[in-house]
């Protein structure tokens, strides 16, 4: 039986190996201390290695992992959040926020009409709160469209 701990442990071993190899390439200057900039990363990498080995050899009982449609849902949420990170600078606050909040609201509550309301409401409400009340520098709309 495959366990989450084993996969994560194996993955972290690869990461730690890459980390240690990368640390070997850290340049040091002529004015360094007895320890230098590489040793601490080596130590950290070693701790990850040991802990990962324990996780692979003695995994805990598995949690229930999402399957099928739920993976799609989580993937969608991830895509929405990542897209939002890209969209907010060029498109301003209101439109991306309404879309992102609406999608997330639909994913949690499952009711399309309520989600549209939640998305638009949160977008406008948070904009008023942050821009008008707290004075943060947010742009409302895409550049060239209104204020």
């Amino acid at each position: 039986m495959i366990k989450g701990d084993r996969i994560f442990g194996a993955f972290m071993m690869v990461v730690a190996l890459g980390y240690i190899l990368n640390a070997r390439g850290i340049q040091t200057s002529f004015m360094s201390d007895p320890v230098g900039p590489r040793l601490f990363p080596y130590l950290v990498g070693a701790v990850v290695m040991i802990a990962a080995l324990v996780m692979v050899l003695r995994p805990d009982p598995d949690e229930e992992w999402p399957a099928g449609p739920m993976v799609g849902q989580l993937g969608l949420a991830l895509a929405v959040l990542a897209g939002y990170a890209y969209a907010i600078t060029p498109l301003g606050f209101l439109i991306p926020t309404a879309i992102a909040a609406g999608v997330l609201s639909w994913q949690i509550g499952g009711n399309p009409r309520r989600s549209v309301l939640a998305g638009v409401g949160l977008s406008v409400g948070l904009f008023l709160l942050f821009r008008v009340l707290l004075g943060l520098g947010l742009k409302a709309l895409p550049a060239g469209m209104g204020f």
Binding site: Q27, F40, A85, I88, T89, A101, I108, G109
Partner: protein, 508 residues
Amino acid sequence: MDTLANLAMGMSIALTPYTLLLAVIGCFVGTIIGALPGLGPSNGVALLIPISFSMGLDAVSALVLLTSVYYGAMYGGRISSILLNIPGDEPAMMTTLDGYPMARQGKAAEALVVSGVASFVGAFLATVGLMIFAPYLARVAYQFGPAEYFALYMLAFCTLGGIGSTNQAKAAMSAAIGLGIAMIGLDKTTGMPRFTFGELHLMDGVDFLVAIVGLFAVAEIFHFIESHGKDSAISVKLGKILVPWRMLRQTSGAMLRGTGIGFVAGVLPGAGASLGSFLAYMAEKSVAKDKASFGRGNPKGVAAPEAGNNAAAGGALVPMLTLGVPGSGTTAVLLALLLTLNITPGPLLFAERPEIVWSLIASLLIANVVLLVMNVPMVKVFVRILSVPAWVLLPGVTMIAFVGIYSLTGSSFDMLMMVAFGVLGYVMRKLGMPTVPVILGILLGNAMEDNLRRAMVLSNGDWTYLFSSPIAIGLWTAAVLGFVAPIFLRRLLKKPAMPETDPTLNED
């Protein structure tokens, strides 16, 4: 009477109408954050740091606002514990044991008042304790050199991992992940880039606020989508709020005992409020004559853990302020706040910027009084707010997380990194790995390496220097014990079965 003079000085800074207003707002927001299931003190404060920073608040105002939020969240956690049987945050878990049964017997109002007063007693006395012990510990901390600090950081990681997790390997892994992330960026001593892969955004390192908000707040959204945010409805009717004087008198002993235990648990690095409330409950149960009624709505079972939980929150500030080593997840976030404000906690803070320390302590006292007023007569307001559905709340929280990071850094790269930390937080929680050590690693990683390297410079590369002073040896011993002992203690101290609690909780 140094303490009193200092306190008067702190009060004179903190008692202006503007800071009082901030304290009231902070307490109100904090209580809401604490009461809402899925939002605890850690992610509440984490969400608000970038926002208060972009608002341009000065150091004292930001401290007052966010410590009020911190204490408010500690108070608020009990509300949903008692009414919904869902702890608002992890330290409030023990309060569900007797709080919810009391609510079902129609004594919800009494439970809320008793727990509110217990929170006040715990938090207030702990703040007094902080006033007395912190300057003393700060004087001891003057004797700490790099070797002692390195050992102290080890102690923090070991005890936090050892006590907070059920699997030592996973705790060590979490801490190492955090430390590994902290290494990214320019090396301070040599000025050479490490692990930046030529990416300019990584030259300054990974911003700990990005990591904190990602791990605490963004991870939450994935959990809620998975659990479909079980609509939380209040099934308990709340009658008129009357102060049950008799019950308060009966439980006063429990409150004081809980406070003492909680304060000690809070001062120990890594133990934190969850352990404080757990030990306070267990101790109260073992000394009580009516053991059988615990778990069935005994008011003492509400008073003791609430006092313990809030006293631990105050106690945790002692090592955080004097040594720069947080005692729990939430104090780790408060440490992040101080670092953002360019305040370095440690013994020097007490000597060089006493106005910061004492206005913080003064604002804690003020916040407690405000919270007592808010949480006893006005508790109904918060009960109403609890009915905000998850499908509005969670998207709102996520958007606030983005706004905070966006207005702080303005870069898509940082927001993407925050989302990546959210995924990491989700996976880690699925695997039962604690996320707090990651935060602690990112926060303390550079200081820890720096102290190690300075120790080696002082000793010319002699490793035995790390174990050369009695303080260092004591800290190393405690670190090893803190990491290893829980393996054996875990069998002795089995947590009592929870009456079906929500798995989507935050670590304290």
